[in-house]
């Protein structure tokens, strides 16, 4: 009889302990939720804003925000995690470059040889413009010579239609 009561008491205390053991994690979970609530999970838009500037290291020429592979999904999660930790866009970009190479950036970083990619097109364009300018100059000079020889330049056609008529007549000859 005593044993049974003792057992019952033991059972009750065990139950109590058990409940207690259950409550603690629940409480901590609840606490953790409030703690987490202070640092909200970054939204998809925030992740996309950064992912859009990065390129998938494996798939070719696919921005990270639209890349459909699972690898890219993991990287986006990584971005979300880093954003939640409070990392800035620049820090996240740096991390990706260190781990996966410079190819993840949407344009070459402005270092070393890469300056060439930015400088050459404007230089080439200006060179072309200069060549054109020089050509114009020499043509104008030539034309002045011609005009002097001729006496006068042809008068500009005032009436477009008449000019076109003339053109067509010329063509037919």
């Amino acid at each position: 009889m005593q044993l049974a009561t003792f057992n019952l008491q033991l059972e009750r205390s065990m139950k109590r302990n058990f409940l207690f053991i259950l409550i603690i994690p629940l409480l901590t979970l609840g606490l953790a939720q409030t703690v987490r609530a202070q640092q909200p999970t970054p939204s998809d838009d925030e992740v996309n804003a950064i992912a859009r500037q990065l390129y998938c290291p494996v798939c070719e020429n696919t921005p990270l925000d639209v890349c459909p592979t699972q690898a890219c999904a993991q990287w986006r999660d990584l971005i979300r995690k880093m954003l939640a930790e409070g990392k800035s866009a620049e820090e996240i970009r740096q991390y990706f470059v260190e781990n996966y190479g410079e190819r993840v950036l949407s344009e070459p970083p402005r270092t070393g040889l890469n300056w060439l990619v930015y400088i050459l097109p404007p230089v080439a364009f200006l060179a072309g413009a200069y060549i054109l300018y020089r050509a114009f100059r020499s043509w104008r000079a030539l034309d002045k010579q011609l005009a002097v020889k001729e006496g006068s330049a042809a008068p500009p056609a005032e009436d477009e239609y008449v000019a076109r008529l003339e053109d067509e007549l010329l063509k037919r000859n």
Partner: protein, 196 residues
């Protein structure tokens, strides 16, 4: 057709100026050279059976023994058969062969003549670690930082791919896709073990 306003004065005839010719030819040949080299590189990117494998260093994931990650150099493993397996945590077929690879490793572990290396291709560390834990992989695994290691094997690397190197450092077998069984792996390694 075209007007001939004045025949008396014609523009002086110059051939193409020398500086322009030089510029054009240098540019042209330079472009062709770049294309040729790029082409050669893209073709060479696939290392072939019989080639000597280029040396690389794998920095394994850190653990209790080596917190910063053990540095493993391929050339240090000369004299042993090396199995280099490229995998990723996001790769489904990799999971298919993972238990077989681990089992094969364990069968050769005591002999000490075969080394298994896992190269984690373009992955994230937490997921990679879970993958390793999930399949209880005991041979060294490390990330392919900057994809430098995989580039030496296959410019269009897919996963899983396995490259088996003989004792002389020459590539002897390329497996694209997962192995189907432990027996298959052993059937490839055993003949290489016999060689010197």
């Amino acid at each position: 057709m075209s007007e001939n306003v004045n025949n008396a004065i014609r523009p002086p005839k110059h051939p193409v100026p020398l500086w322009a010719q030089i510029l054009v030819w240098v540019g042209l040949l330079g472009l062709l050279a770049v294309l040729a080299l790029a082409l050669k590189r893209s073709q060479q990117g696939v290392v072939r059976v019989g080639d000597t494998v280029k040396d690389f260093t794998l920095t394994a994931f850190g653990d209790d023994q080596h917190p910063d990650g053990q540095q493993i150099r391929l050339s240090d493993l000369h004299g042993k058969v090396v199995v280099i397996n490229f995998w990723a945590s996001w790769c489904k077929p990799c999971e298919q062969e993972a238990p077989d690879l681990e089992a094969a490793w364990r069968s050769y572990q005591s002999g000490g003549e075969v080394v298994f290396l896992g190269v984690d291709y373009v992955d994230t560390e937490p997921e990679a670690r879970s993958y390793i834990a999930k399949f209880d992989i005991t041979y060294p695994n490390g990330p392919d930082l900057g994809t430098r290691i995989s580039q030496a094997f296959n410019r269009q690397m897919g996963v899983p791919e396995t490259y088996i190197v003989d004792r002389q450092g020459k590539l002897r077998y390329i497996q694209i896709g997962p192995f189907q069984s432990v027996a298959e792996i052993q059937a490839i390694i055993n003949p290489l073990l016999v060689e010197k």
